[in-house]
């Protein structure tokens, strides 16, 4: 009886302690989401707020704007390259570092330090590095290095070439975040008991098969965790584009968050800006729902 009361008392205490956080999130996240959604259906297109309802007109205008469609395409390409590139590179580096390397700490720090920089700094330096140069002034940045190494045929226009555009931005983003993925995978690899691998080896599996059938599945939670973090950074990407390329030729480097900024604060089309925010949110939900399903199923199993 006392135990029941104590448990109930503790449960109430739990709820009370979580309450402030929940309330803050309710207001500052969900309240704002509801407001933004409403604004996307409103006629607010001047500085003075106008909350009159106009249906889906803003959505139509946004989707009819060629610039918006380009940004959506860019976002898709960027997300694929950024998330995929970071995961693959991070995993590769973790696997290499896991092999009892001398100076592991040094390499780890070198791969990890870009995380300490802000996207603005990253954007500034990669703008310079991927500046292709020109016939009159000679090559610059990476192109110059490639030339000097005799790999001149690899030179490209990077972000000045509308066909490449956002890919160059992805190169910078992978540089910044792959260290984080590496750290996660390294921790994960270290957490896999050696016996499991030994057992597989004894069974005659090759190293490659061990990775494929033993290690990777065990690392799945990490992969998911990284997917979430990388995915949400990708959808919100803005600072990097501003600092590195701006919208780029033919908007080949433009992203929805950047376009939303211009629509909202320069063109004062608050209604249309809110539309883009809603679309980004929907994109995020598509990302997070599978993760949640997976995670809840795991909990149910445990």
């Amino acid at each position: 009886m006392v135990m029941w009361f104590k448990r109930k008392h503790d449960q109430i205490l739990s709820i009370l302690l979580v309450f402030p956080s929940a309330l803050a999130i309710l207001v500052f996240v969900y309240g704002f989401i509801v407001l933004t959604t409403y604004v996307s259906f409103s006629n607010w297109n001047k500085l003075v707020p106008d909350y009159s309802f106009i249906g889906a007109a803003n959505y139509l205008r946004v989707f009819q704007n060629p610039r918006f469609l380009i940004t959506l395409r860019n976002l898709g390409v960027f997300t694929g390259l950024f998330v995929g590139g970071s995961l693959i590179l991070g995993f590769l580096l973790a696997v290499l570092l896991d092999r009892r390397i001398k100076a592991e700490g040094l390499f780890r720090t070198i791969y990890l330090y870009p995380l300490a920089l802000s996207f603005i700094v990253t954007g500034v330096v990669w703008r310079w590095l991927l500046n292709p140069g020109s016939p009159q002034m000679g090559s610059a940045g990476i192109n110059l290095l490639l030339e000097k190494m005799g790999l001149g045929f690899l030179k490209t226009g990077w972000y000045t070439d509308p066909r490449i555009g956002i890919i160059a931005v992805a190169v910078a983003a992978v540089w910044q975040m792959s260290g984080y993925v590496m750290a996660m995978y390294l921790a994960g690899l270290r957490g896999i008991p050696e016996e499991l691998r030994e057992a597989a080896r004894v069974d005659g599996a090759s190293e490659f098969q061990i990775y494929r059938f033993v290690v990777l599945p065990l690392l799945r939670p990490i992969t998911f965790g990284a997917l979430i973090v990388l995915g949400h950074i990708s959808l919100k990407i803005y600072d990097l584009v501003v600092a590195m390329t701006g919208p780029g030729p033919g908007y080949s480097c433009d992203v929805p968050a950047y376009f939303m900024w211009e629509l909202t604060f320069r063109a004062n089309r608050f209604g249309q800006g809110a539309v883009i925010a809603c679309i980004l949110l929907i994109g995020v939900s598509l990302l997070i729902l599978p993760y949640l399903r997976y995670s809840l199923r795991r909990e149910a199993k445990i």
């Binding site: 503790d10 449960q11 205490l13 739990s14 709820i15 302690l17 979580v18 956080s21 929940a22 803050a24 999130i25 500052f28 933004t36 290499l96 570092l97 092999r99 390397i101 700490g105 720090t109 070198i110 791969y111 990890l112 330090y113 870009p114 995380l115 300490a116 920089l117 802000s118 996207f119 603005i120 700094v121 990253t122 500034v124 330096v125 310079w128 590095l129 540089w175 260290g179 750290a183 996660m184 390294l186 921790a187 270290r190 957490g191 939670p221 990490i222 992969t223 998911f224 979430i228 959808l235 919100k236 968050a257 939303m260 909202t264 608050f270 925010a277 980004l280 949110l281 995020v284 997070i288």
Partner: protein, 279 residues
């Protein structure tokens, strides 16, 4: 013999990638030591002909027009430290609740909280300003701290929840049977074990809050209380950019977070190892 060949190959690959990560740092450092006349995109690989500290001096102390960064470092520290500590503790308590003292519906609340991580901040600037004004917090450092704490709750909660879920349930059950209460278990068992989790959260939050620009620029319009990232942006002119000063400033601003990763990096790794981000 084969192994040694393989291992040298390994090192070569590691070094090649290390170069990929270090190249930008080289460009940043050499540019920051050049004078404005020498700064040139086409000469980015050449070391400075004449070593110049002018860029750093102007970035820190410039009294020509805009104030240098020196003042704003203080503001950033005043803002970042409380924000980091509060959001980390909140995350710890929430994580604790969600793993070991759950109540019906807790899972749903957790998921809803997590979603908060994903809103694009540009889209909520206007209501944010209005709410802060309503609370009388607009234009103050406290307002900035509270904003960072609130928007940090989802990620800190996530990290701690994952971390605490690796603490064996038996430990918890034993303590509860011993009659320990909510607070007691937290104090005696959870908190002592939380160090690795805190390592990850503190480092992550410190970095994100230190590097934030948007909230700092929106909420703190008075230059006297602006964080250093906003001041850094102002080092750029509105018509043309003095790249050496800009980059010198950027390096200075990155020093604290770099130092945190360099010095505390191994605790970060240990925290990850201990399951802080297992998903």
């Amino acid at each position: 013999m084969k192994i040694r060949l393989f291992r040298s190959f390994l090192y070569i690959i590691l070094v090649i990638f290390a170069i990929y990560y270090l190249l930008p740092l080289y460009v940043l450092v050499t540019t920051s030591f050049k004078s404005f006349e020498e700064v040139n995109v086409y000469a980015m690989w050449s070391p400075p002909k004449k070593l110049s500290f002018e860029a750093f001096r102007r970035a820190l102390f410039s009294k020509w027009g805009y104030q240098g960064l020196a003042n704003n470092f203080k503001n950033s520290i005043i803002m970042v430290i409380p924000a980091t500590i509060f959001s980390s503790f909140l995350g710890s308590i929430n994580g604790y609740i969600f793993t070991h003292w759950t109540f019906p519906g807790a899972n749903i609340i957790f998921i809803l909280m997590l979603f908060g991580m994903f809103i694009p901040y540009q889209s909520i600037l206007i209501p944010l300003v209005q709410v802060l004004r309503f609370l009388g917090l607009f234009g103050t450092i406290s307002g900035l701290v509270i904003t960072h704490v609130i928007y940090g709750i989802p990620i800190t909660t996530l990290i701690f929840r994952n971390y605490y879920s690796t603490i064996p349930k038996e430990l918890m059950e034993a303590a509860k049977i011993d009659g320990a209460s909510f607070v007691g278990v937290y104090r005696r068992i959870i908190l002592p074990l939380s160090l690795p989790g805190f390592a990850v959260v503190l480092i992550w939050q410190f970095t994100s809050i230190w590097n934030d620009f948007l909230f700092g620029a929106t909420i703190a319009l008075d230059p006297a209380i602006q964080p250093v990232t906003v001041a850094l942006n102002n080092l750029a002119g509105s018509y043309f950019v003095e790249w050496n000063v800009q980059i010198a400033g950027a390096l200075l601003v990155a020093m604290p977070t770099l130092a945190v990763y360099l010095v505390l990096g191994k605790y970060f790794m240990r925290g990850l190892l201990a399951g802080a981000l297992k998903g």
